[in-house]
């Protein structure tokens, strides 16, 4: 179909890792915009710089987000890239698909777009990469028909995501897939219509292994945990010993709280329940012998985000333990979100993430005004400075 020379990109078809260039060429074979994209990228490789302009506002009727406007700065050279917008499509919980659903996306995208996608974007959406303004609405209509909806963009709730959880993992302490779906559905308005100071991300991980990297990548990180004590199956422990595992070295000595004692004679492994911090290490290494306790729920952490502006923040504990139950519709969690968002809305500056806001005004104020009881689990350690803002009603006048 084309005579275009892309010597640099061609280099990237070599090597064992599957090549995105090959993918681009497949799309290029069917779509003129994708074909031009090869040329644009080759140009970038030559000049070592990008060729996309600052986005403009494009969208779908009734929605404020979900589409990122994209325009090249060299439209004369690449006319089909004059408009080349991104569509964010809300993925199913846990990124599970049947081939019917997946093929339906392919068909729609073949009709309305470049044929290039990201499976998935780094927030979790299906990313449909490159369409024109004109196609956005019909594309959405078709997607909608096929059962899909848009994800978030702009100053709104971003598309929540979750780990594979109970669908395939023995460690899941709550139903991450159901929580993700239920809560996404509850907040369709917040997801689709930006009206906050800035973006807000939620990620659900079923345990402290945090397979969605939620603590680093979401404003609100929901991490499965338990309140009681890990359960140890002594027969299975013996089995591991028989198979040659050095339990003292690999498990006990790496337990961060030194809560595990192994008796080499009796081959029994015991735990000091109150010392365990539920880090998951022993469970990870001995899944057949050790499992979480029975009283399960989640730790809620707040404030995670990346570098811009005040530095990267990792989310920190604001509720050490919360029940996460679909039976009561995740009520407690939603109630908390409502209070947090309201407070953020009232106090946040434009483009101020919740973590930055709390850092600016102080965690004490946040806790008081959102109505969360302060507990030592919220901090690694107390303050080193004595700069306490004293509530003036505790003062003798």
């Amino acid at each position: 179909m084309t005579e275009r020379k892309t010597p640099q990109l061609d280099e990237l078809e070599k090597g064992k890792w599957p090549s995105f260039v090959t993918e681009m060429k497949k799309a290029a074979a069917k779509n003129p915009a994708s074909e031009e994209l090869l040329g644009l990228l080759e140009k970038s490789y030559e000049e070592k710089t990008g060729h996309w302009k600052h986005g403009g506002i494009v969208g779908v009727r009734g929605y404020g987000g979900g589409v990122i406007g994209r325009y090249t700065d060299v439209p004369e050279e690449f006319p089909h890239l004059t408009e080349f917008h991104t569509i964010r499509v809300n993925q199913p919980s846990g990124w599970f698909y049947d081939t019917k659903a997946l093929r339906s996306i392919c068909d729609i995208w073949e009709k309305h777009g470049s044929g290039l996608t990201n499976f998935h974007g780094s927030t979790g959406d299906v990313i449909l990469l490159g369409t024109t303004t004109e196609h956005i609405q019909p594309l959405f209509d078709d997607l909608s028909e096929a059962g899909f909806d848009l994800g978030g963009s702009g100053s709104d709730l971003r598309t929540p995501s979750c780990c594979v959880g109970p669908a395939r993992c023995q460690n899941a302490c709550y139903d991450t897939l159901e929580a993700c779906l239920n809560i996404t559905n509850e907040y369709q308005d917040e997801l689709h219509r930006p009206m906050w100071p800035y973006k807000f991300k939620i990620k659900f991980s079923g345990c402290a292994n945090d397979c969605t990297a939620s603590i680093a990548r979401s404003d609100c990180s929901v991490i499965g945990t338990w309140r009681d004590t890990i359960r140890i199956d002594q027969d299975a422990v013996k089995q591991y010993v028989a198979e040659g595992m050095d339990i003292q070295d690999r498990i006990c000595d790496k337990c961060p709280t030194r809560a595990l004692k192994f008796n080499p004679e009796s081959k029994e492994l015991t735990v000091i329940g109150e010392d365990c911090s539920r880090c998951m290490h022993c469970i990870n290494l001995m899944p057949k012998a050790i499992q979480a306790g029975k009283e399960k729920g989640a730790t809620i952490l707040l404030g995670g985000k990346s570098t811009i502006v005040q530095s990267a923040f990792m989310a920190w504990v604001i509720v050490p333990f919360m029940k996460m139950e679909s039976e009561n519709d995740f009520e407690e969690f939603k109630d908390l979100m409502g209070r947090i968002w309201e407070w953020w809305d009232e106090n946040g500056k434009s483009r101020e993430r919740i973590g930055e806001l709390i850092y600016r005004v102080g965690m004490g104020k946040f806790l008081r005004e959102v109505g969360l009881p302060p507990v030592p689990q919220m901090v690694f350690r107390p303050r080193a400075n004595p700069y306490v803002f004293w509530p003036q009603d505790e003062i003798t006048k």
Binding site: Q8, G15, K16, W17, P18, F20, E23, K26, S44, Y45, K48, T49, G50, H51, W52, N90, P92, F96, Y97, D98, T99, L102, R103, I105, C106, E110, G115, L116, T117, F119, S122, L129, D141, G147, D149, V164, A167, R168, C169, Q170, L181, Q188, H192, A208, A213, S214, I215, A216, R217, K254, P256, C279, M280, K288, S306, T307, I308, Q310, S311, A312
Partner: protein
């Protein structure tokens, strides 16, 4: 009429029967071979997941191809992982080997489980963003080609999670990765007064700069930048198209190491800068691939079994990390931002 706010498809309709039946009942898992997970349920049911590397930037042809495979081997079910690998979900163990054979035919690598490198979480780069300091897919391809042997094997000391972000917005959330490749600008934005005038609120633009480098320029109805206060974060460009920051001659990559997010053993940690700049040399970024490989190999041959990059470095000490890797230390690696003080060595105990 299209439905508004219908939300994502219900995952329950997307689950293979074996998962529906054993939902929440998984008992343990094993990794019979690299790239293959075997999950065993309380009921005795066995689910095989075959994990496959994907370039993430894929065509619909690729998607249809994996759908074909899923139809043939998995009754039409598959999933993607949080690091953009494809997972084929098999209830019939007899189909595992044939699937792997078909994948090999198509050049799709199986791996990414256990003590391996998994797929690199990354971003748009020159493909589709307006502020990148480097490409994303290109470096990822180059690095994965280079470290390929560690994807399909499990011979590393522990998991190796590499992240790439093409600018400081850090869409790849590389800030907590074992190895992070981050696109960095190194020259101050070139102010295009005309573009600034068009639709930029000057006070917001001034306020957005984390170091207070931007001053209003009332004459030009635009702004100026105090050169030596700017550290090229690009936040002002996000606020205004008039603050052009891409600079083909000077953009490139920084390397950070030692981040992690799991709570296992040690607390989650940020990645820390060890190389402030490497040039963009497409198509294969040899400086970057070499640097990453050298760090990975040094870790692989020095760390103890089960020790993540961060745990190894914190055990031996960062001063030792620089000695062992031979990476030069410089003042650029010393923090000078808000939380800098917490990184200073307030102790007389250290190694040489």
């Amino acid at each position: 009429m299209a439905k508004i706010d219908q939300g994502p498809p219900d995952y329950k309709k997307m689950l293979p029967p074996i998962i529906k039946d054993n939902y929440g009942k998984w008992k343990y898992h094993e990794i019979p071979r690299p790239g293959v997970l075997k999950h065993v349920s309380d009921s005795g049911a066995e689910l095989y997941s075959v994990r496959v590397g994907s370039p993430r930037l894929v065509s619909i042809d690729f998607l249809r191809e994996i759908c074909d495979l899923a139809d043939t081997f998995c009754d039409g079910y598959l999933r993607f992982t949080s690091r953009n690998n494809v997972e084929f979900l098999l209830s019939d163990p007899a189909k595992v080997d044939p699937l792997i054979a078909s994948l090999a035919d198509k050049g799709l690598p199986v791996g990414g489980t256990g003590a391996s490198i998994s797929n690199i979480v990354h971003t748009q780069g020159w493909i589709h963003c307006h502020t990148p300091a480097t490409d994303a897919s290109g470096i990822v391809k180059a690095v994965m080609d280079d470290l390929f042997e560690y994807f399909g094997s499990m011979k590393l000391p522990a998991k190796l999670r590499v992240g790439l972000a093409c600018c400081l917005n850090m869409c790849g959330a590389a800030h907590c990765s074992d190895v992070a490749i981050v696109g960095v600008h190194r020259t101050i934005p070139r102010i295009n007064d005309e573009k600034v005038q068009k639709g930029t609120e000057i006070p917001s633009l001034v306020a957005c700069c984390p170091t207070g480098a931007i001053r209003p320029n009332p004459k030009a109805k635009s702004v100026t930048i105090v050169e030596d206060k700017c550290m090229y974060c690009g936040n002002c460009y996000t606020m205004s198209p008039g603050m052009e920051i891409m600079d083909g001659q000077n953009d490139g990559c920084a390397i950070l190491v030692g981040g992690k997010v799991a709570n296992a053993r040690s607390v989650p940690s940020f990645s820390r800068m060890v190389i402030p700049f490497l040039p963009n040399n497409p198509p294969r970024w040899p400086e970057v691939t070499d640097a990453v490989r050298s760090i990975v190999e040094t870790w692989a041959s020095n760390a103890r079994q089960g020790e993540r990059m961060n745990e190894w470095i914190e055990r031996i000490g960062w001063e030792k990390f620089f000695t062992i890797t031979g990476i030069p230390f410089s003042d650029k690696l010393i923090d000078d931002y808000i939380f800098s003080r917490e990184t200073f060595r307030t102790s007389a105990a250290f190694k040489y």
